[in-house]
């Protein structure tokens, strides 16, 4: 009888602690969940002969962290992404297993769109190209990044040439020539994102792509309105409101990132959030 009472008491204590602990863990700020990332070399040494597993787990941790933030953002809660932490995770994952495609894919899907991280993303992609020398996707992504974000069309053409050699696809050969002549960037970015969206399986990544695609399509709509205005008036509209007044644009589109579209000094449409997100950086 005493033993039974002791057993019930211990179970009661356990349940009494478990409930608040579960609540605490669920309420813990997501930013804390990236946690400390040890130096990749140290991780290589400590993971013994499980380096590939450790690398895969770090990539999955990055996805879990980002997925949680996407859910938070969808619920309307303010979120701040720890892009530095994400980069440390992905860099460590690729150091543990340089063949791990998840780390390159995630850095391209998420980090590449953060202006501050372009050198790091390209460094990761170059590391991937060194090891995955059969994979056309890595030079394809590097080509897109260098052209679209860095405006370095010569280098982009080199990457696309490499992607064309590896894949044997005519598409890349055609992209190479288009980049050499500084093609329509927004249209290419839309094509790129549509291709990426088809291959995206994880909801967090899909939602991110869909949001960007929506923003770019609206940007494209503004560009077409500007082109029509220029053709008719032989000058730029100056502001988006002028496009609405002239009837080339039915209304100023709503920026899905929560910012505002505007025309810059050169007359090109910009978003106050997309590609040049303000600090603190958010989704």
């Amino acid at each position: 009888m005493k033993k039974l009472a002791l057993c019930i008491a211990l179970l009661g204590i356990y349940v009494g602690i478990q409930i608040p602990l579960t609540r605490y863990m669920a309420d813990r700020p997501v930013a804390e969940q990236v946690g400390f990332i040890a130096h990749p070399q140290l991780m290589r040494l400590s993971s013994a002969d499980h380096k590939e597993t450790a690398g895969a787990l770090l990539s999955i941790k990055a996805l879990m962290y980002y997925g949680t933030l996407v859910e938070e953002a969808r619920a309307g809660n303010p979120v701040t992404v720890d892009y530095d932490g994400l980069y440390r995770l992905l860099s460590a994952a690729s150091a543990l297993d340089p063949y791990n495609m998840d780390s390159y894919y995630f850095s391209q899907a998420i980090l590449a769109w953060e202006p501050d991280f372009m050198p790091q993303v390209l460094e990761l992609l170059r590391r991937g190209m060194e090891y995955r020398d059969w994979d056309w996707m890595l030079p394809f992504w590097a080509g897109f990044d260098t052209a679209n974000f860095l405006k370095d069309y010569d280098t982009a053409a080199t990457y696309y040439r490499r992607a064309a050699e590896l894949s044997g696809a005519e598409l890349f050969a055609s992209l190479t020539s288009r980049y050499l002549y500084e093609a329509d960037q927004t249209e290419l970015a839309i094509n790129y994102l549509e291709a990426m969206l088809k291959g995206a399986t994880k909801p967090a990544i899909r939602q991110t792509f869909e949001l960007r695609l929506d923003a770019l399509k609206k940007m494209r709509m503004i560009e077409e309105a500007i082109a029509a205005f220029r053709l008719r008036e032989a000058k730029g509209p100056g502001t988006l409101e002028a496009l609405v007044r002239s009837g080339d644009l039915s209304a100023i589109p709503e920026d899905p990132y929560g910012g505002e579209f505007y025309l810059d000094d050169t007359g090109k449409p910009r978003s106050s959030r997309l590609f040049n997100a303000p600090q603190p950086r958010s989704l």
């Binding site: 290589r44 040494l45 499980h50 590939e52 895969a56 063949y99 495609m101 998840d102 894919y105 994979d135």
Partner: protein, 263 residues
């Protein structure tokens, strides 16, 4: 000798070690769903997890059977009755080693048959970009078995000289950790990044590198996971290294056990 091998092997089986391994094999059922967490390489992740699980199970077997076998026999005074028979102490050690090696090989074969089921189940839902090279996967498992046979020889060496189980268990685990990291340390110290490291530390590390078993040489996981070509020359060299190193360790294990005072 054959009797010694058979008795030790039956002892391991009687310990219900196989049951324990079969229970842990249930983790293979989780691998297909765990692999689906990957964004771009689901099948590759299933191979990674399968190889990791096999490696972990073999590590447990190698450490515990080699570290506990001699020590426990002495504790139970079983070794006295065996050594009273016309069996040399060297044969006692070699019999134990061959039985553990046979058990590890059996585990490798069983796990090598189960792992492809988990990998095939994953590949059926998420076809990989590159065809799975089953021969590379079996080769990686085979070299894993060799690695842990070598580790069990190291465990027996510690068992042969120790009077408690602390040195065999923690010594074997330490050798395992050092052996898996020695190549990385050597690579770092040979690179330009280590120019500031004092020469005597580099020399010390070099001695350490050549004395501690190099378990990195037995690692063919990347070739198995990503269907990369296998370096056959490296495989043959590793095989030769395994034979030479294991024989040396067993020689010392027999040498020390023959001179050990048993009371």
């Amino acid at each position: 000798m054959i009797n010694q091998i058979w008795i030790t092997f039956l002892g391991i089986v009687r310990d219900r070690a196989l049951y324990g391994i079969m229970v842990l094999c249930a983790l293979f059922l989780v691998i297909p769903s765990a692999s689906s967490l990957s964004m771009r390489q689901v099948t590759e992740l299933s191979i990674t997890l399968s190889l990791s699980l096999i490696s972990f199970l073999l590590l447990l077997c190698a450490v515990f059977f080699s570290s506990f076998s001699v020590w426990r026999d002495i504790e139970r005074r079983y070794s006295f009755s065996v050594l009273a028979l016309p069996v040399s102490r060297s044969h006692f050690i070699l019999g134990k080693f061959l039985a553990i090696a046979a058990f590890l090989t059996l585990c490798g074969v069983v796990l090598g048959l189960i792992a492809p089921l988990a990998i095939s189940a994953t590949a059926a839902y998420y076809p990989p970009d590159r065809a799975i090279m089953w021969s590379s996967i079996l080769l990686a498992i085979g070299y894993d078995v060799l690695k842990y046979i070598l580790l069990s020889a190291v465990g027996l060496l510690f068992s042969a000289i120790s009077t408690s189980f602390f040195l065999p268990v923690f010594g074997t685990i330490s050798v395992y950790l050092c052996g898996t990291m020695s190549q990385d340390v050597q690579n770092y110290l040979s690179s330009s990044a280590a120019n500031d490291v004092p020469v005597f530390i580099k020399e010390l590390a070099s001695i350490f590198y050549h004395v501690v078993p190099n378990f990195d040489a037995f690692d063919f996981n990347l070739a198995a996971i990503y269907s990369l070509p296998v370096d056959h020359k490296g495989g043959l060299l590793t095989l030769g290294y395994f034979v030479a190193y294991t024989l040396i360790v067993l020689f010392f294990a027999c040498f020390f056990f023959s001179r050990r005072e048993l009371r």
